[in-house]
């Protein structure tokens, strides 16, 4: 510092010694000069100079030392040397200053350089940072997943078809490998999708709104309806006295219909059909449902549940059976709670509801049919009852009207003794019950027509011809009606016959007059008795007789001649003709078709040649039979029986044929042909 100040002072001194105004300038000029000078000077030269001066100084100092030591008073010389050294020191001082300035200068340069370096580094660092950032971005881009991939787009083909043409035109020939195109396509599809979705969303909203409106509407209407019920109830209650007064059974019908809902399906079908039939046709047909409503409801519910368990039940019962068996061995016999008995009961179970139909026709006794449904056998059975009119008292007459056989053979061969369900025999066998026939008394008759009326359709062993188509409710009731009518007239005829008089026949029918033979005996008999008789063998052999037919005997007499007849009346009388089997006892002779052509001829005439649709067929046959007996006796035994009937020839032909053909000529005449 000292060194520093001195030159400055010196300079100041010099400056001060100069002009005052110019003093500052000079200073600055000095500084500038010094700076310039220092720039121009090389540091190495200065260092050389410095070392040379230092060496000079040392020399001079050494000379001075010598001077001092030699004590020679050479003052002058010493002075000179001193001056020289001082000069020299001044030069060093100058050098030092220059050096200092140079140093400052260099330092400044260094600083500038350093600053430059710093800025470069900064730039570099920026770049590195940018690079890292970009790299990050790139990876980010690579790992980017577009949301559109999750969107279900409209199918490409559908898009091409559905979208407006100005969008799709570009993609008509799109290259699927060109990612650009593909991108565009996807974009377009997305765009389209967006539009579609927007429009759909819009329509959704509108519909939703509409729905809301409708729901409100419904709620409102429901409210109104709910309000209606009590009103209606009050109206119904109000009309009750009126109903009672006017005798309109609306309520009863309603209750019945409610009950009908609980009927098993087959009976329901039948019930509905009967009600429908009776409402359309002018028939006095009443259908009632018998049974307790609650019980039926309970039963139906149980039935539903049972069906669900049924499949498991099978195994369980087997297991329990085994258990029972084990128990049997161990315990007393009384433990046997027979599972078979239970099963039997189960098999024969009837539905608690049954349908009762009453057919009431004028002039004919009413018939009541009771239909029951066997739940397990899946068949409908019938029992019937005819309400006998008080005027029919005869045994035979009552017999033919009694319900059991009146329903036989409504369709040919249908006796109701066999279950129409082909599965029944197996089912019965399984639980050790015999044939269905034995159960008829317990369950009722299972006629085929009943099953068809109830909508049950079974495979039939025999093909059932066209009858099946007709076996609907209408057919059944019409047939039943016919059957009842014909049975009633038959019963009336039998009633008369039992009183040993031949019933009147309509005048329109040509009949012989002046009949002498008369009915002396009439009664019912059985198939067994019919079989016992000798002269019936041929008829039996040819299967003309069915055990279920109705059998009667009659005797027609003229003095000592007695004609004993068996009369077989078919169930479907008068469609099938009654069959007569004759046996004449006269003069200890026992004549029948087996040993007499005349009796055979007479039987032929009575069985084949008297044909009539009329229900009074039996009476007609009896009338003719009496006159035939007259003819027979008068032609063959003219001595014993004077002629009362008119005939041209008593015999003709090689077979000595008797005239059994009645012709209404005059009072009536008998001829052979």
């Amino acid at each position: 510092m000292v060194k520093d100040t001195t030159p400055i002072k010196k300079k100041r001194k010099t400056a001060n010694s100069g002009d005052n105004d110019a003093e500052t300038d000079i200073y600055r000029k000095v500084v500038e000069f010094e700076e310039k000078e220092s720039k121009l000077r090389s540091s190495e030269g200065d260092a050389q100079i410095y070392s040379n001066i230092c060496a000079d100084i040392r020399k001079k100092l050494a000379e001075m030392m010598e001077i001092n030591s030699e004590v020679k008073q050479e003052g002058q010389r010493k002075q000179e040397l001193l001056l020289d050294v001082c000069l020299k020191i001044a030069v060093i001082k100058k050098l030092n200053r220059v050096d200092k300035i140079q140093h400052v200068f260099g330092k400044d340069l260094l600083n500038v350089e350093k600053q430059k370096c710093d800025s470069i580094k900064l730039v570099y660092q920026n770049l590195v940072y940018e690079l890292g950032h970009l790299m990050h971005e790139v990876t980010k881009c690579n790992s980017f997943k577009s949301k559109h991939e999750d969107i279900d787009l409209i199918d490409f083909s559908d898009f091409m078809k559905g979208a407006p043409s100005d969008i799709t035109d570009k993609f008509k020939n799109v290259d699927m490998n060109n990612s650009e195109d593909l991108h565009n396509l996807t974009l377009a599809r997305l765009e389209y999708e967006l539009q579609q979705r927007k429009s759909l969303a819009k329509s959704y909203e509108t519909l939703q709104e509409e729905k809301k409106k409708l729901a409100e509407d419904i709620v409102e209407r429901k409210k109104k309806l709910d309000g209606l019920l009590p009103l209606l109830n009050t109206i119904i209650n109000a009309t009750k006295p009126l109903q009672e007064y006017l005798n309109i059974p609306i309520d009863k019908v309603r209750a019945e219909h409610k009950l009908a809902q609980l009927l098993p399906d087959p009976l329901y079908i039948f019930y509905a059909n009967v009600v429908a039939y009776s409402s359309v046709h002018d028939v006095n047909l009443k259908a009632n449902i018998l049974g307790d409503q609650e019980e039926a409801a309970q039963f139906n519910e149980n039935e539903c549940n049972n069906e669900e368990i049924e499949s498991d039940g099978e195994n369980e019962t087997q297991e329990t059976e085994e258990v029972v068996e084990v128990k049997k061995r161990r315990h007393r016999k009384s433990v046997q709670v027979d599972p078979m008995e239970e099963k039997k009961k189960k098999i024969l179970e009837l539905h608690p509801l049954s349908v009762e139909v009453t057919l009431d026709i004028k002039d004919v006794p009413s018939i009541t049919l009771l239909l029951k449904y066997c739940m397990k056998l899946k068949i409908v059975t019938v029992t019937s009852k005819v309400n006998l009119p008080s005027d029919i008292t005869g045994n035979c007459a009552q017999e033919i009207l009694s319900g059991e056989n009146i329903l036989n053979e409504l369709t040919p061969g249908d006796f109701g003794l066999e279950s129409p369900n082909p599965g029944t025999p197996y089912l019965l066998k399984k639980v050790g019950l015999g044939s269905f026939r034995n159960l008829v008394s317990q369950l009722g008759y299972a006629y085929k027509w009943v099953q068809t009326c109830c909508g049950l359709d079974f495979l039939d062993k025999k093909a059932w011809n066209e009858e099946i188509g007709r076996a609907n409710v209408e057919f059944v009731f019409k047939t039943l009606n016919k059957r009842l009518t014909s049975r009633t007239t038959l019963a009336k005829q039998l009633e008369k016959l039992e009183q040993k008089s031949i019933p009147q026949i309509p005048d329109s029918i040509e009949k012989p007059q002046n009949v002498i033979s008369n009915l002396t005996k009439f009664g019912s008999t059985t198939y067994q008795d019919f079989c016992m008789a000798k002269h019936t063998k041929a008829l039996l052999d040819e299967d003309f007789i069915n055990p279920s037919d109705l059998f009667f005997t009659a005797t027609i007499s003229r003095s000592s001649a007695h004609l004993n007849c068996f009369i077989v009346i078919k169930n479907d009388y008068p469609i099938s003709q009654p069959i007569f089997s004759l046996n004449l006892i006269f003069n200890k002779q026992n004549l029948s078709a087996e040993n007499s052509d005349q009796i055979r001829d007479m039987e032929k005439a009575i069985n084949l040649e008297i044909k009539h649709d009329s229900a009074s067929l039996l009476a007609i046959k009896f009338t003719f039979l009496c006159s035939y007996l007259d003819v027979l006796l008068e032609t063959n035994f003219p001595k014993d029986f004077p002629q009362s009937t008119m005939f041209l020839k008593n015999i003709s032909g090689r077979n000595r044929r008797n005239p059994f053909k009645f012709r209404k000529i005059g009072t009536g005449i008998f001829t052979q042909y």
Partner: protein, 344 residues
């Protein structure tokens, strides 16, 4: 108890069967039969006015049991509804049907082809009362002169020329209707309901001889009547029967030769065949005897009364017996029944 269950078992079985409705053929009666000239067809006529045609070939040649179909008629044709066919006659070309009131001819050729067109008909002369038509009870053809003899229900025997079908003669001496006729040489033997057996000379149409069997106490059966149901004659004998017993008479001496001790209620069929006698009627047996009355065989019949028995030797030996039954019995050896045909 056991019997009872058995009985009910039977009833049940019957119940399951479909019961047949009464068939009118059950009461049918066959009155006449005829074989076709070839011998393979049997035609029978019944009381309902129908002819039934059976094929014999199979029935005769089969060893096995025949199906029901083979034992029933192949064809059936109603000639006249409800008018009985009393007689049938077979000629070389025609089947002649003796119906009621008319005689109808069918050609065999047509019949074999199941064609029932009538070749011709002969109307019988109207009856006096015009009401009851005349039965043609029996017919015989004289092949030499082509004359057809028809014994009829109006007590007359008519002689027709078969070619022209003109009535040639009427033999009208009977007082009852004619049951049977038989020809021998130039004479005709007839038996009638009146109990007379007339022997006619066909040239003069006069009754040459008259036999009244009922006057013979050994032959008469008053309870059955005097009628003659069947006659058959050969050179030496006349066989007759009916209400009267079956009896054999000498042709020349007109005297009773044999009375046959058979238990019948009336003879309708009697024939002298070789040196034997075939006879049937109201009896469940058909008799085959020799002249003196020794029984060769008694064939049980299906019918109450036998009205027709026909036999032929070729192509196979066969005897068919028919009557008041829908069944026709067939004997191939004349000894016992080996087949039974049925009309239904």
């Amino acid at each position: 108890m056991f019997i009872l269950t058995l009985f009910f078992g039977k009833i049940h079985k019957l119940c399951e069967k479909m019961v047949n409705s009464l068939n009118k053929n059950f009461y049918n009666t066959v009155l006449s039969q005829a074989f076709s000239p070839c011998g393979n067809l049997l035609v029978v006529g019944d009381i309902f006015g129908a002819i039934h045609i059976f094929l014999l070939k199979k029935i005769l040649n089969s060893e096995n049991n025949l199906s029901k179909e083979e034992l029933t008629p192949k064809f059936c044709h109603t000639v006249k509804e409800d008018l009985q066919i009393n007689s049938l006659l077979s000629t070389q070309t025609h089947l002649i049907v003796g119906c009621v009131g008319e005689v109808i001819g069918y050609t065999w050729r047509n019949l074999k082809a199941n064609k029932f067109t009538q070749a011709w008909t002969i109307e019988l002369p109207e009856n006096k009362d015009g009401f009851n038509k005349t039965d043609v009870n029996c017919m015989i053809l004289n092949e030499e002169n082509g004359q057809l003899y028809a014994g009829c229900g109006d007590n007359n025997i008519y002689v027709f020329d078969l070619e022209t079908r003109k009535l040639l003669k009427t033999l009208d001496k009977h007082k009852g209707y004619i049951h049977a006729i038989s020809t021998i040489n130039n004479e005709l033997v007839s038996g009638g309901e009146d109990g007379l057996m007339n022997i006619w000379d066909l040239k003069t149409t006069k009754v040459v001889h008259k036999i009244e069997p009922s006057t013979d106490s050994k032959v008469a059966r008053p309870n059955l009547g005097n009628w003659i149901g069947a006659v058959s004659a050969n050179e030496d004998y006349i066989l007759c029967g009916g209400g009267v017993r079956l009896s054999l008479w000498h042709y020349r001496f007109l005297s009773n030769f044999t009375v046959y001790p058979i238990d019948d209620q009336g003879i309708h069929v009697a024939e002298i065949y070789d040196d034997k006698i075939l006879a049937g009627g109201r009896s469940r047996l058909f008799y085959h005897m020799n002249f003196v009355g020794d029984m060769i065989t008694e064939i049980p019949t299906s019918s109450v009364t036998t009205y027709s028995a026909m036999h032929q030797d070729s192509p196979s030996k066969i005897l068919t017996i028919a009557g008041s039954s829908p069944k026709i019995d067939i004997c191939s050896n004349f000894m016992y029944r080996d087949q039974q045909l049925s009309l239904y």
